[in-house]
């Protein structure tokens, strides 16, 4: 599903350059649920930006769902993101003036789906995350866990092939974190690849595989099952 070969990425800030990704090689199969770990500054956010086509890379090869992602213009990138990727963020990033239902329906809005139709679909997805009764509430009226569930529903509505979650439990307590992880596991079981960026060990232990990034390269590649056997 996702193949990264020798990815390099350097940021230029004025005269200084910051070599963040120094040749990342990574292979993620379809239907996997993996976590990416690393201390801050290790380059994991940059990596997620590259995988999410939010940022381009300088050198190497990135193949997403069999397609080489290279030199896309903004419009192409936006369409590809809309169709193949779903995003879940640490701070939920819901649009504050839209209610839960409209937030979930947003990706369909960008696809040009009619209002009535997309609201029906959005209601379905809200039901899946158990928030049917909260459809007309604004984000400010929801709890953290509820917000994240709305965000997950929003990420799922466009039927993406990959879910990218950047610290999805970072702002939640442990109980809610577990619920959110359960939900992501459920999503994963429908065949969607899930990539979670986290620095919490407990969370990463709930995934199939842990990829550890250190100084811009892949440090370790740990299969969680083996870890548990040990």
């Amino acid at each position: 599903m996702i193949q990264l070969k020798n990815i390099h990425k350097t940021y230029y800030i004025g005269q200084n350059s910051l070599h963040v990704l120094k040749g990342v090689d990574m292979h993620i199969e379809k239907g996997e649920m993996i976590s990416i770990m690393g201390s801050s500054g290790s380059g994991k956010s940059t990596l997620l930006n590259v995988i999410g086509i939010l940022d381009n890379y300088d050198d190497g090869e990135f193949i997403l769902d069999g397609k080489l992602i290279r030199d896309l213009n903004e419009t192409q990138a936006a369409k590809l993101r809309n169709k193949t990727l779903g995003f879940v963020f640490q701070s939920f990033n819901l649009i504050t003036f839209k209610n839960a239902l409209e937030n979930v329906a947003l990706p369909l809005y960008y696809q040009g789906v009619k209002r009535k139709k997309r609201n029906i679909i959005a209601m379905e997805y809200l039901d899946k995350v158990g928030l049917r009764d909260w459809a007309n509430h604004l984000p400010s009226e929801l709890s953290g866990g509820q917000k994240q569930r709305v965000a997950i529903a929003r990420a799922l509505i466009a039927k993406p092939k990959v879910i990218l979650a950047d610290e999805p439990t970072g702002a939640l307590d442990s109980q809610t974190s577990l619920e959110v992880m359960d939900m992501l596991r459920e999503v994963n079981q429908t065949g969607i690849t899930v990539i979670i960026v986290t620095h919490e060990h407990d969370i990463s232990m709930l995934t199939d595989r842990i990829i550890r990034i250190r100084d811009g390269v892949i440090g370790e590649n740990i299969i969680v099952e083996k870890l548990n056997q040990n």
Partner: protein, 385 residues
């Protein structure tokens, strides 16, 4: 193509920053409003002045005599002199640029005592002896009857064309007027026409609505004026300068009447072309100023809007990021922000437009109702000897 979500977003982003929205809108509103008001006042001023001048030929000049100030050819200074009928032919013969030439007599000044009688009523009016050509230089609107014609002059007919105030004051509503007789300084004239002035602001020797025109030749013989001429009114041919014609006329008249060529004081003269040019220049200046100030004000509004747009984008970087992440194309985001500012500008601008026009209309109405009482004049009310 009404996109509810788009407008919802615009509404909420404008609402969440009420003060900013207000000031942006006010900037645009004020720019448009001021431009409208200034253009309106400028045009109003111009129209008022031009309307006062009516159809008066703009390429015309008026000349009359004054005391000489220099001794010449044996004549002392301080001599009273007048034009003569023979000057008229000389002018036409020697100055081909003259289009219309109208000599005029005005023996009793602007309003010479109780000089007109009809039945039991008398009044003081401005009596002039004229040629029909006067109606081509300073036209009047005929309400009844006809104007003076060539035959009147040839036959020295005792006919009169009277102004509307003369008519109102001397005649009863039931009077037929045309064909009736009035007595001017002891001589009876038949009224052949009633007129009203087209331009109230230019009066040559007395108010026009209180004027009576009689044939020039009739006046010369009736009142023992010999071959005197008091005024010459001339217009230049199309594309010829009235100033040049005026200059040439005065030179010729001075020569024929033994006035020192350099004695400028010996002539009274008035050149409408020059006045018009001056006024046109003034109005052009006002107009340019209005546009400069107006566009400046508008520009300030535009800069305000662009500034606000910049802030909007800076402020919403994160939100735009989210929208991008879930599949919004750059065009979608751009159109969102542009629609937002265009909407704000359009609404504020039309408010300014509507309010500006409303205010102008109000002033217009107020002025129209008081116009009867106040007659404003752009140039001197009368040019009299």
């Amino acid at each position: 193509m009404f996109d509810r979500d788009k407008w919802q977003e615009i509404y909420s982003s404008l609402k969440s920053n009420k003060l900013r929205t207000f000031f942006t809108a006010f900037g645009v509103f004020w720019g448009i409003f001021m431009l409208i008001i200034m253009l309106g006042s400028g045009n109003g001023l111009r129209n008022a002045v031009y309307e006062g001048m009516g159809d008066f030929a703009t390429n015309s000049a008026i000349m009359f005599t004054r005391q000489t100030t220099m001794p010449y050819k044996g004549f002392p200074r301080g001599r009273e002199w007048l034009f003569h009928t023979s000057d008229m032919e000389a002018l036409i013969k020697n100055i081909p640029e003259i289009d219309q030439l109208a000599p005029r007599l005005q023996p009793w000044g602007g309003n010479g005592g109780n000089n007109v009688v009809h039945g039991l009523k008398t009044g003081a009016y401005n009596i002039t002896g004229d040629y029909p050509a006067i109606n081509k230089i300073d036209p009047v609107r005929l309400l009844k009857g006809r104007f003076l014609n060539e035959i009147d002059l040839q036959n020295k007919r005792k006919v009169a064309v009277i102004g509307n105030r003369v008519h109102d004051e001397l005649f009863k509503i039931t009077d037929p007027v045309i064909g009736e007789y009035i007595r001017i300084n002891g001589v009876y004239y038949q009224v052949v026409g009633v007129f009203e002035p087209k331009n109230k602001n230019i009066n040559i020797g007395g108010e026009k609505d209180k004027s009576i025109f009689i044939p020039f030749t009739t006046m010369q013989v009736s009142y023992n004026l010999g071959d005197d001429v008091h005024y010459f009114l001339v217009t230049a041919k199309p594309n010829k300068s009235a100033s040049v014609v005026e200059e040439k006329c005065m030179k010729l008249l001075a020569e024929r009447n033994h006035v020192a060529p350099e004695d400028e004081q010996a002539f009274g003269h008035f050149n409408l072309e020059k006045e018009f040019k001056k006024m046109n220049g003034l109005f052009l200046g006002i107009r340019v100023l209005i546009w400069i100030v107006g566009t400046g004000t508008l520009l300030a509004g535009v800069i305000g809007v662009s500034n606000i747009m910049l802030i909007i984008i800076k402020e919403r970087t994160k939100e735009i990021g989210i929208q991008r992440a879930i599949g919004a194309t750059p065009w979608r985001i751009m159109s969102q922000i542009i629609t937002e500012s265009v909407t704000l500008t359009a609404v504020a601008g039309s408010f300014g437009l509507v309010l500006g026009v409303f205010l102008l209309e109000m002033i217009n109405n107020m002025l129209a109702s008081s116009a009867e009482k106040v007659k404003c004049s752009g140039i001197p009310k009368s040019i009299s000897r």
